[in-house]
């Protein structure tokens, strides 16, 4: 399937499994994720957290993928992502979303999240999404792309306005 070249290898040349850390406040959803991922070849769940603090120390293990509940932090959920990225830049984040707004998702994507999954899409797509994001792709529904472009256009305009001010 072409994922092979992305798999890290240890010193003996054996392929290391793709490591996943789950940071989710909702135990049932976390359990679903664990169950689904356990059944997948070459994927290993290396840890779980229910709070952002535990999640932040959990990424010290530098997982390949972090499944991150946007409702995890008290403060809107996005702040821990900044720290997580600073701690482990190689970790790619997939958001677990439920009742969150598009704006919250968009903000998290602006902080480096590579995709998101709504609860109903976990079962059919979790493993696919984990592999795709690990391979450098994104997991964003098409409907979201228009909003990403709008925000991008906004930021570009802001940047132009700022550079005009200084010249």
């Amino acid at each position: 399937m072409g994922f092979g070249r992305h798999i890290r290898q240890n010193r003996t040349g054996l392929a290391l499994p793709l490591s996943v850390f789950i940071a989710d406040r909702e135990p049932r959803r976390a359990a679903t994720c664990v169950r689904l991922l356990r059944g997948a070849k070459g994927i290993r769940v290396i840890g779980q957290a229910k709070t952002s603090r535990v999640a932040i120390s959990g990424v010290a293990a530098k997982p390949d993928i972090l499944l991150f509940d946007l409702k995890l932090g008290k403060s809107g959920g996005v702040a821990p992502l900044l720290l997580i990225r600073a701690r482990s830049p190689r970790t790619k984040v997939i958001l677990l979303t439920g009742r969150v707004t598009d704006t919250q998702i968009l903000t998290a994507i602006s902080q480096g999240a590579r995709g998101y999954l709504e609860p109903s899409r976990l079962r059919p797509f979790l493993i696919k999404a984990v592999r795709a994001v690990h391979a450098g792709e994104t997991w964003v529904p098409r409907a979201m792309v228009a909003k990403i472009i709008d925000r991008l256009a906004n930021l570009t305009a802001k940047q132009h306005a700022q550079s005009a001010k200084y010249t």
């Binding site: 932090g73 008290k74 602006s110 480096g112 994104t138 098409r142 991008l152 256009a153 930021l155």
Partner: protein
């Protein structure tokens, strides 16, 4: 075109006398509600982004399969965007780096704030910045957990920071963008 006001316009980028962004803005002035799909050979990342930001809702290569083209037209008409998967990745990366640039600009580097803290408070702030819990900090500094909490309250007040997460961000020179 101006009188027909189509819902979707397929625009060949190599049309004579109508080039790239200019063509897009001409169409938009003539018929603002028209959604544009660009027919084009390979497009560079920068050009693609500029086109999308200018209002193009999608692009595809000239040899696109008819059923796919139909799907593209329907999607774009519904308000979605039609671009390649790979391009979506590039858009995301551009979004992250622009957000970062904005944050860096809006955040004057301010180490002086930390100087308001006592040496002990600074020590605690730094330990918290590397992810230590109150218990771990207490253990490390050989004080009671209650003492750590009291110091934290004082730190939050001095730096006008709402909670430990924001303090950790602050110590690491980060601040969430909005």
């Amino acid at each position: 075109m101006a009188s027909l006001k189509p819902a979707v316009l397929i625009l060949d980028r190599s049309l004579p006398n109508l080039h790239g962004i200019e063509a897009v803005s001409v169409v938009q002035r003539a018929s603002p509600s028209t959604k544009i799909i660009l027919f084009s050979k390979v497009i560079s990342e920068n050009e693609g982004r500029a086109m999308l930001e200018a209002g193009v809702r999608g692009y595809c290569s000239l040899d696109i399969d008819a059923t796919l083209l139909k799907k593209a037209i329907i999607m774009v008409h519904q308000g979605e965007v039609w671009v390649s998967r790979k391009f979506i990745s590039q858009l995301l990366e551009a979004l992250v780096s622009l957000t970062e640039a904005q944050r860096a600009k809006s955040l004057p580097k301010d180490d002086s704030a930390l100087e308001q803290l006592t040496p002990r408070e600074r020590e605690i702030a730094e330990l918290l910045g590397v992810g230590a819990s109150n218990k771990e900090i207490a253990h490390q500094l050989r004080v009671a957990e209650k003492t750590v909490k009291a110091h934290l309250t004082s730190i939050f007040r001095k730096l006008e920071i709402p909670d430990r997460l924001h303090l950790a961000l602050f110590v690491n020179g980060l601040r969430p963008a909005h």
